[in-house]
Point group: D3
Chain length 283, copies 6
């Protein structure tokens, strides 16, 4: 379960404020402050759970008198009807926090569920499914955690924890007369010594040049599987390989067959379908 650090609380508090959740006139009109209640957060569709502790934190930030008991753990599979959280305490708080809590757990579980499909699709191959930095602004830590809960791994958390020489970097240096190989050599020489140098290539020829420059990882971008397999063979023993670019659930297994070490999928976090999870109030 995700520890509820200050970072997570900031996200929760901002979300509650954005919703003016403490100033809900509907609940204020109808529900007496002393009415107690219980609620269950439950799955309405199959999937993989992520965000149970985050959703729980929404309730306790709304009202410290609310308690949230996790019935399922993040990373567990959900079937329709499965109970996820039991909430107990002032009814007004449950009603005010409901939407914010669901928004978080539905997105996170949506990411975990989609990730788990990609992971399952490459079963039997060594390739790891990883995310990208294509996350919802402000929610990166949650998005990346959800990927892990779905069985995936994380690529760079931010720009600072990896060197990734992308097409636009290469173009910027080419404009100054620096070849791809020289660009890679420069990165290897000047990069912080704790970081590997990953290089985006689009052709086998570029892969070769990047390897000569000393690249530690090749990012094979939008290659067809034949070229990819050739690049993987070329890199064997010299560099890791990562496949990227428009990979779908339909194509991911073929990509894994090329022997790449890593497959990165932007859609895991940039095109999320919320998992259907709801809250049933039990007065």
């Amino acid at each position: 379960m995700l520890p509820i650090t200050r970072e997570i609380l900031d996200i929760v508090d901002r979300a509650l404020e954005e919703d003016l959740a403490f100033h809900d006139p509907t609940t204020a009109c109808l529900v007496p402050p002393d009415q107690q209640g219980r609620a269950v957060v439950l799955a309405k569709a199959p999937g993989v759970l992520a965000g149970a502790s985050v959703a729980g934190a929404v309730f306790s930030r709304m009202d410290p008198a609310l308690t949230a008991q996790a019935v399922k753990q993040d990373g567990e599979r959900l079937r329709p009807g499965d109970h996820i959280l039991h909430i107990e305490g002032p009814a007004s708080g449950i009603l005010r926090a409901e939407r914010t809590a669901l928004n978080l757990i539905q997105r996170m579980s949506g990411i975990a569920t989609l990730t788990s499909l990609y992971v399952k699709a490459v079963e039997g191959y060594p390739a790891h499914i990883v995310d990208t930095r294509k996350t919802a602004p402000g929610l990166r830590y949650l998005d990346k955690y959800a990927v892990r809960m779905g069985g995936g791994r994380n690529h760079r958390l931010n720009l600072a924890d990896g060197i990734l020489v992308k097409d636009n970097h290469i173009a910027a240096l080419q404009a100054r007369g620096v070849s791809l190989r020289e660009t890679v050599e420069r990165a290897v020489k000047l990069a912080p010594h704790t970081l590997k140098v990953e290089v985006e290539v689009e052709t086998v020829e570029q892969a070769r040049e990047a390897l000569e420059g000393g690249a530690h990882i090749l990012l094979l971008d939008n290659m067809n599987v034949e070229d990819m397999a050739e690049a993987v063979a070329l890199a064997k023993g010299r560099a890791m390989t990562e496949a990227s670019g428009g990979i779908t659930l339909e194509t991911v297994r073929a990509v894994a067959q090329t022997g790449v070490d890593i497959i990165s999928v932007g859609a895991l976090t940039h095109s999320v379908a919320a998992l259907d999870i709801s809250l049933d109030f039990q007065p």
Copy 2:
């Protein structure tokens, strides 16, 4: 175009910090601080644009020496290849801000595009397509703006700007022996006088009861179209009607045919597919 207020800047700044965009070692190793460059943000898929000024703000927050010129306006249709923004200034800043800018404009345009499909699907009927509060935590203002750019309208911005008596409120009062009708009457009596009272109902019978209680708006939740049409007829001249619950692009036209005034679609913001937009660096 969305004015870049402090609220928007906070989202932009948090996103840049989350990415440690000012501490990008790849660019630091490779691109001299004095190298200038240009870039074009362009569509790779058809859709509706939203977020051009927000994306532009990412570049100028990264480096005030960067200028972003909008070629397309929010709300305009995009065809693959269409230029959206022209960026000019220090190459390093363009490369550092790229991902954050794209994350924002891709999500926003994804929302606008999806919304426009729903709007088109109900063409000829009076129903307005509106969003819900099922937005990405921290991004509600952007999500709701994008819905407007797609031709939709906004439902409640937050809990405070409308009374919406939902199933869980009704359950909470029933547990205290208060009928639906009495619940609605109480809301009408106690609500802030500037707000209408909307009531969620699931059957024609409930619709009737809510109308008797004085509801200004009926939220017809998960009804089949026959019941919905009956509820709409019942409400005619007495209350507005809103359809909600699991409405898809396939079903929305049939829903509109019932004569409802408003159709709210959670998926517009909770299940967003990023629109494919990219940045081409032109050194």
Copy 3:
């Protein structure tokens, strides 16, 4: 009692910081850190209490070892000498937090007390006394809560939770050739569907025009009571009516006699006299 949410804590923390309350050299010079003490917060003048839990929170934010026990509840009447809070714990903390706690409870009780006078003045008439958005910047939630404790109701919490077409809006549209009636029609048509449309009018003629445009509420601004009564009669069964503008304790009853539904009084929050409440230290 007001729940102490993050919003309230932010106000409390900012107030303590503004006072550099953790860096009080007087107390540091004189009071040993281990000295314990008790104090009572008590009324020195008659009035209505508001802010007891907020004042209590000041002490516990200053030092978690301080406990505050409420003897009176918000909304209760106070007579001189009445105990409100009992504080117990480190003497130094009590002395450092005293001023900040009193500043909050004195203002809030001042608002509640003034409101209660207006409410009493209209006793027997159906009119509700409501506040306005003329609150102390940064303290709106506290100001509006205090109004409720005094027996009043709240008008708009912010610009987003009600449509109020004011004189300046009408002027802006008139400059473009749009009549009052057309302006109101436009607002009714374009406003978020959960919000009523209130229109500020200064004459019976304008009231008539606004009603024709479909206004849900008439704000009768600075009208004499004869005109007001006529406008109320006109609106009967078609729209609510709200009286506003320079209403004082002397005139409010006459205003209520016109039959208006609502009387809004800016002075409740923009011209507050602190209620005399003090802290007695009991070593």
Copy 4:
């Protein structure tokens, strides 16, 4: 005029956010984004101006395209009808920022006006009128600035910029067997060397004891004017004297006649009547 520092901008921004001023549906429905306008902020009652630059900053924070031109300077007298600020730019921004700007300038000018009455009341005597720490939480800098604009001076900005041994400190030490004189000696010895030691006394006897202890300033609390005069005589050449406690416009001149150096008046900031200032939109 008050410089618009980050502290001031924080107050302004918080006030605009509290009002959800960027999300004003009334203006959004009615006023086209490209409509330009002008407005004048003008006095409706006589008084002393404070807060013109702060009010101006509200408009430019709302929309950088808005310009505010000060016609009157802070500290100047106002007669009904006097123009204070001329605003120019997008009409929508003027309408959205109006209330927030007025809330600030009305409170500040109310403080300046009240202060000026006290200052005038003691004309001819050497006594300075000063404020207290009884300010609206979060607005201390503005409140204290307004006092200066009204011709007053400031007492402590916060707890850290002066030693003030109050009744509760004295009580805390007495409980440990320390006499008033010893308490004062201790403060003089241990206080930061840049701070004077002020001691609150309620009788002539206490005044004598505080002087013997080495007090630099006597705070004569709630004394009648005879005792006050005696204490002032006693302190002459040895310490400054400050009168405090329930001083009103009716009694302040008699207090000044005792020869005290300073008269502090809590009401200047804790019981403020907003000065009537309004905004006239001129499309």
Copy 5:
């Protein structure tokens, strides 16, 4: 021990975030979340302790399941090997928080240790060793607290809690034809009445002039000890004296011999050597 107020927590939280301490991949790879552990924070060099409660707070902010037990109190002498804190709880949290906790306690203890050397060097003389405002930006409260733990006292906490007429102020007024004496008189007359007026002088002649102007404190800047002694004699009974400017451990005793009341040493906080303190993990 320093109470852990919101101000201190802000410093702690910012430091943990700056280190991305919640996203430590080394610990994530190696240490299972359920592994418990203990650790001891211990001295590796002799010195004076400061910051034990602050370091403890780092662990509990990292993970509320971590407890920190102080074995030594701030202000106590440390010998190599002395235990300072015992930490207990999840091993992962200990490892993630280690560096941040040590950064704080090492700096603070370094300041306390250096201060104690200056204090010891002037033993037998009445002079107090005080700090300056030359602190690490953002850490002033911690720096000044550490000085107190080393036996020193604090000079101004900020610009607002003392009048200090420095060389540059004097130069600014001289440029307008105002003499040093007149400058001092003006400060005495216009300063907030709770603050003393301290004047920086570099010669005996200036000291005389400042005294004539009514200075309460003379800051003897960069004077040789003969001049200093003469200035001290001159000020006797009229003003306090403070020595400042390039005073080192070698020269401080000679300075104290002149009879000055206060010796301020910028190096206490602007040139800090971290005290060697480390954390031993005990699985």
Copy 6:
């Protein structure tokens, strides 16, 4: 020169607020708001400059009417008397911002100067001097930038941008029966693929084991130079080597002679002596 990003502005603003720089009574008493002035920031001791743009930003944040012109660039050598910045504008702003600006530039230049001495000491050897995470809490970005200006390089910016298996990690795993070699293997297998795995070793034997486990970098901690040379020889062609632990200006050249690739020096940032830089006001 360091770009002045929002991160840097936050540090500047916090420092100005901590100093209550906008509420400086000394300047308020003495310097008329309309007095203009100039000042020069200049070196009083030899060293290497860092922080010129940061110091400049302090002045413009204090008052936008102040301009700061850099005469020297960060990274340049300073001789006593060298001009660094020319400031121009309102005299009051210069005087209020002086201390905060100097605190920043003195610390940063102190770091750059010390770093340059280490860099010079290893001249002729391939070893790079790098910093550690032992920075002043809240100032890491400035501290690490200053190291670069002194000719050094940066080690990890935060815990997330490198795997560093330290003694305490090894101890934690040994307690579970995992050998050093297995620990390293586990890190290599599980670490984010963009990060190298660095392992802290204290003996040649441990170095061997870490290499067998697949370590990419060896951190040779507190080794004598003979062992270090042996470990370097062992690692040649298989892993980079970094020397660390108690390295001083006296010993660093001998360490470099062992052939290590990197020498990390905590003292660069944890034991900083401010470089003597002052501000001369020129009215």
